[in-house]
Symmetry: C2
Subunit: 189 residues, 2 copies
């Protein structure tokens, strides 16, 4: 494994309501120096949930994405509240976004958005044994629940309104988990 670059100096260069940009000077082990910029997230992290509605269907949501200015098919997800456990955050987001809670949660992996330019990550959790339960979320309009067959995820990937890399990665991880090729960690209540 290579020796990590030395961080010489870092400072905040831009900030808005939601985003913070940090600049930092690095010296690599071969002596080369570079200035990098990265996004630093606020908050307490975020979760993305792959929830099985039954043995054959996963829960997708259709929601408006302000970044791409269009509706998109993706997975339930959201920010973790201050002091909230990972499991509680997942169960709250499911109840807010698809109208179900779950009895079983399995931690799969922390995914990074862009390792080169962002320090943030999202925790991917698998959920099943769902029960109907609705919580009021902060969505500007109700989200549409779209059940999708696990056996037909390749057709989802081919759709123009399914674009989010993290969601496709999370679904692939869940498939590997269900096939017994990927180790998860049960989240106890």
């Amino acid at each position: 494994m290579q020796k990590k670059p030395q961080i010489l100096e870092r400072h905040l260069v831009a900030q808005s309501r939601l985003f913070r940009v940090e600049s930092f000077d690095l010296r690599f082990s071969n002596g080369v120096e570079r200035t990098y910029e990265r996004l630093v997230p606020g908050g307490n992290g975020a979760v993305m949930v792959v929830a099985l509605l039954d043995d054959e269907h996963v829960a997708l949501i259709r929601e408006y994405g302000g970044g791409i200015e269009d509706y998109t098919l993706t997975l339930p997800k959201g920010a973790i509240d201050l002091g909230e456990s990972l499991r509680d955050a997942c169960n709250r987001e499911l109840q807010e976004e698809i109208g179900f809670g779950a009895h079983e949660f399995v931690y799969l992996k922390k995914l990074s958005l862009s390792p080169s330019y962002m320090s943030g990550g999202i925790d991917v959790v698998f959920a099943r044994n769902l029960y109907p339960s609705q919580l009021e979320g902060d969505e500007p309009e109700p989200l549409e629940l779209v059940p999708w067959k696990l056996a037909e995820l390749h057709e989802l990937y081919g759709r123009a309104d399914c674009t989010e890399g993290r969601a496709i990665a999370a679904l692939a991880l869940a498939q590997e988990y269900l096939a017994g090729r990927f180790q998860g960690e049960v989240l106890e209540p």
Copy 2:
């Protein structure tokens, strides 16, 4: 399909060397108004390449990620130069990052990073029929080429140094393409 929200006003709220943050006011079809922020990328887009070294191995790189301040296993990728075709960008990045060019390129999909907060995307391209050829890139240190067995991608996903959502998504798309379940589009020279 739902009617898209109306965009009432937008303006630049923060800017650094690499990042631009835009704020915009939206009115949803149910009358609810919200202020959103999103990252707007500069440049001409970016490519990520799933390249087969032979029938069994895909080309990974180990590189330093400034965002996560650590080395990470991911796919060759980079920005498209002004006026450069998608195919030429992929072939240049492969030569700079793994020391191979390719004779065959197949377009798979444009992946979004975060549909909620970022307008940018990355074009995922599959490549094979490689030939040795090295080009000088702008990397601060040489990247390490790591061949990985296609049959053992689930072990890659389980590694702590493989975190990038888009890379895992791109590998899953390539697997579906190779299995004949996902349609690609050959990029002609």
